[in-house]
């Protein structure tokens, strides 16, 4: 296969035609912050965290094909500031009380926020009122933390072939829905070993009966930044599945 090159922050990056900027960066071990991207599924470019500048224009790295000779800016004060603002909006749109969240310490939203140096959510909080779904015997869903990244939707559709999750509504009313007669997870064909259960970057999917098995302080992002230890989904993959 032909190999071409482009540049990320001045560094020479090889790629194969058809690879996105994100694919090539991941292969080269360069971290571009992201939330809705998981290399196992089609990129959607919805969270916008992976915005970079390609030849001076903003693009999302997960959807834009790499282009030979292209100059990509990934780490700059300006881009970092944009990413921080995006994260702050995600934080105030939901209810992110990390001290009371079982996912804390291995949550990608939190980890990316640490990475960009976000100290506070800054904006006025929405404090939306979203009901939990504890109807399934093995998994609880806390929608208060959903960032609508669509990963569970993609994993359920493309991976599990079950189509259990979908995003419904528009704009600020968008929300995750479950495909079952009652709209509850317990009534669906969901299984706790589904791929959809392992991809959520935040604390929506909470396996029952094993909360805090790994203590706070010893979790994935407690000691090392996400740029070094990678995505939480990579750690969650059900055994025996690639």
């Amino acid at each position: 296969m032909t190999q071409c090159h482009f540049f990320i922050d001045g560094k020479d990056i090889p790629f194969h035609p058809g690879q996105t900027i994100m694919d090539a960066a991941m292969t080269a071990g360069i971290y571009i912050p992201h939330l809705c991207h998981n290399p196992d599924y089609e990129p959607t470019g919805s969270c916008r965290l992976c915005l970079v500048k390609l030849n001076g224009r903003y693009v999302s790295a997960c959807t834009r094909p790499a282009q030979a000779g292209g100059k990509v800016e990934n780490q700059s004060e300006e881009i970092n500031q944009q990413r921080k603002t995006l994260l702050q909006m995600l934080f105030v749109e939901g209810n992110h009380q990390c001290p009371g969240c079982e996912k804390s310490g291995r949550c990608q939203l939190q980890a990316v926020a640490y990475y960009v140096g976000m100290l506070s959510p800054y904006f006025t909080h929405f404090y939306p009122n979203r009901q939990l779904d504890a109807s399934h015997p093995e998994m609880m869903l806390d929608f208060n933390r959903c960032i609508l990244c669509g990963l569970c939707v993609r994993a359920s559709h493309d991976g599990d072939k079950k189509d259990i999750f979908a995003i419904s509504g528009r704009g600020i009313k968008s929300h995750l829905v479950i495909n079952s007669p009652s709209g509850k997870l317990g009534d669906s064909h969901f299984n706790a070993h589904d791929l959809a259960a392992s991809v959520c970057p935040v604390g929506v999917f909470l396996p029952k009966h094993k909360g805090y098995e790994v203590p706070i302080g010893q979790r994935l992002y407690d000691r090392q930044p996400i740029s070094q230890v990678g995505d939480v989904a990579g750690q969650n993959k059900p055994a025996g599945r690639s």
């Binding site: 934080f91 209810n95 992110h96 009380q97 990390c98 001290p99 009371g100 969240c101 804390s104 310490g105 939190q110 926020a113 640490y114 140096g117 100290l119 506070s120 959510p121 800054y122 006025t124 909080h125 404090y127 009122n129 706070i216 407690d222 000691r223 090392q224 930044p225």
Partner: protein, 179 residues
């Protein structure tokens, strides 16, 4: 009057965990008191707020007393610091924001498990609850934030020493956490 930096602290709708963490800087407290003079603070039990250089606020704003104390601290301070999850985003107390004040009071004082003599307290001395718990930046201007639940003693130490030296504040990775 000494030329030490004057510092005041308060706990609003918080659990005093951030103040405990301040004490967790251990023997460095001795170094700290060489550099700063503590004005009103639960640490020394001074009740009167005088003009200070730095006010450190733990906890969010949950009742009318919190609003009053916070505004007074703001008036009297040059730099106001939000310390801990509750001051920054309301924290655990803000989990009541899903419910009305009526529902919260009824759950606590009437329908809650183990309640004796069910009755909602209404002594005029008790500050009235606000409809929602707010982070302090929604009420006053805040110059610095220090996240954590609570921030570690080390994070507080880094913050205070770098602030006192007038440097931009940089934290090592493991000192910034939201939990």
């Amino acid at each position: 009057m000494s030329d030490k930096l004057r510092v005041a602290t308060a706990s609003l709708a918080g659990c005093f965990g951030c103040h405990m963490s301040l004490l967790d800087i251990d023997e460095r407290l001795l170094e700290l008191i060489m550099l700063v003079e503590f004005e009103r603070s639960p640490i020394n039990d001074i009740k009167q707020i005088e003009p200070v250089d730095v006010a450190i606020i733990e906890g969010g704003v949950a009742n009318t007393d919190n609003v009053e104390v916070l505004r007074e601290f703001r008036r009297q301070s040059n730099i106001l610091v939000a310390i801990g999850a509750c001051a920054i985003n309301g924290g655990i107390p803000a989990m009541r924001n899903h419910f009305s004040v009526k529902e919260c009071l009824e759950e606590s004082y009437i329908n809650g498990i183990g309640v004796l003599n069910p009755m909602i307290p209404n002594d005029p001395e008790i500050p009235l609850l606000l409809n929602k718990v707010h982070p302090i930046h929604e009420v006053v201007k805040v110059e610095y934030v220090l996240p954590g639940c609570p921030p570690s003693g080390d994070a507080i130490w880094t913050f205070l020493t770098e602030l006192l030296e007038g440097r931009p504040i940089h934290f090592p990775y493991n000192e910034i956490h939201y939990d």
